[in-house]
Assembly symmetry: C2
Homo-oligomer: 219 residues x 2
């Protein structure tokens, strides 16, 4: 059989369709946004700072690769990931990037806030403390994203409302803020705001997708 070559080419080409989707920065950003729950094209475009037309074109690619599904909701069209496996591949991909690309490591370090020594860095003790109420886990994403999924014991205060709602937070216990993931700056912004206001606070690098993936691996 000399068409073994032809078959192989066909197979790898199919896999490359997935790779192509992950080869554009904006598409990656859209995937990360969709990891936070279903969204309309308009919302996605706004959050990613691109035109609706361009967002639509990128989403078209995502759909062609069967990585997202759509549903009409009145005038809007809702996009959602076609499965948890898509979010997982996003996490695996950016983890490998962080592992291998020094440029990325340095860029991430630049935006990180100093860790607070009262806040544990490993999740097991963090969860133990959260369960006991010794630490407040704060979700600073928009409420809809919190409602779609959030970390255990997390409380929701969107970053825009944070300044107005400081009174809801305790000053005697550390506050761990998290957001969409390592490329979302809301958690670090929240943490530095809280510190300025006299709270003990730290930012968590992981979002829900990252958390859930490593949960499974540990279990």
């Amino acid at each position: 059989m000399k068409d073994a070559r032809r078959i192989k080419d066909l197979l790898y080409e199919q896999v490359a369709r997935i790779g192509k989707v992950f080869s554009s920065p904006k598409r990656l950003e859209l995937i990360e946004l969709l990891c936070q729950g279903e969204k309309t094209v308009e919302t996605l475009a706004q959050e990613a700072s691109i035109s609706m037309k361009l967002a639509s074109a990128h989403l078209r690619e995502l759909r062609a690769a069967h990585l997202v599904e759509t549903e009409r909701q009145g005038k809007n069209i809702l996009y959602r990931l076609a499965g948890k496996a898509v979010a997982d591949l996003w996490v695996h991909t950016h983890s490998l990037a962080e592992d291998r690309l020094v440029e990325l490591q340095m860029a991430l370090q630049k935006i990180a806030v100093q860790p607070d020594d009262l806040v544990p860095s490993d999740r097991e003790t963090l969860m133990k403390m959260a369960r006991r109420g010794e630490v407040v886990v704060l979700d600073v994403r928009p409420v809809e994203e919190y409602l779609a999924a959030h970390l255990p014991f997390a409380r929701s205060i969107p970053i825009d409302e944070l300044r107005q709602r400081l009174a809801e937070l305790p000053k005697d216990r550390p506050i761990v803020a998290y957001c969409r993931g390592p490329y979302c700056l809301m958690a670090v912004d929240a943490a530095s705001l809280l510190r300025k206001e006299g709270f003990r606070s730290a930012g968590l690098r992981d979002g829900v997708a990252e958390w859930e993936l490593t949960e499974i691996r540990q279990a």
Copy 2:
């Protein structure tokens, strides 16, 4: 801070560098080959049926993304994956492709050989039987790849030598052949050859990289 946008763009762009590498069929094939162990440019080019120049160009991309390392060995240059995480992402990527792309599923079904009812499909019982010698696990890749890494209890007979070495195999026990992975046709070729010759035989879809990844998840 209005440069939040600039920072984000930079971060996603870095991750997209990894995606770009995975967006070309031939680069994927090279990655899979490198999952089997270190190889020279010439070997890689031959196995992937491309010119050495083109192979060199693709490998250049892989190296630019820090996914492979090189080492000079006399006249040749050896390429190897920069870490297990690279092989893992390859497995995760093609798994997602198999999960989402119907075209790929059908193409894979077309090349699959009928399963043998004496050969278990889940790896735990397969390993139990292999340990007891109730089944022969046969690595049909080139010997060097077998030497670099192989499945537990596996025996090596490269596919080219298989016809000459049939006497080494038992007729009373089933033989499970495996190769580089689901896109490598050596295992299915071996299994159908063995069946023609009166052996009980089946092909295993997974290669070493796939096996090792799912091992860890189960453990």
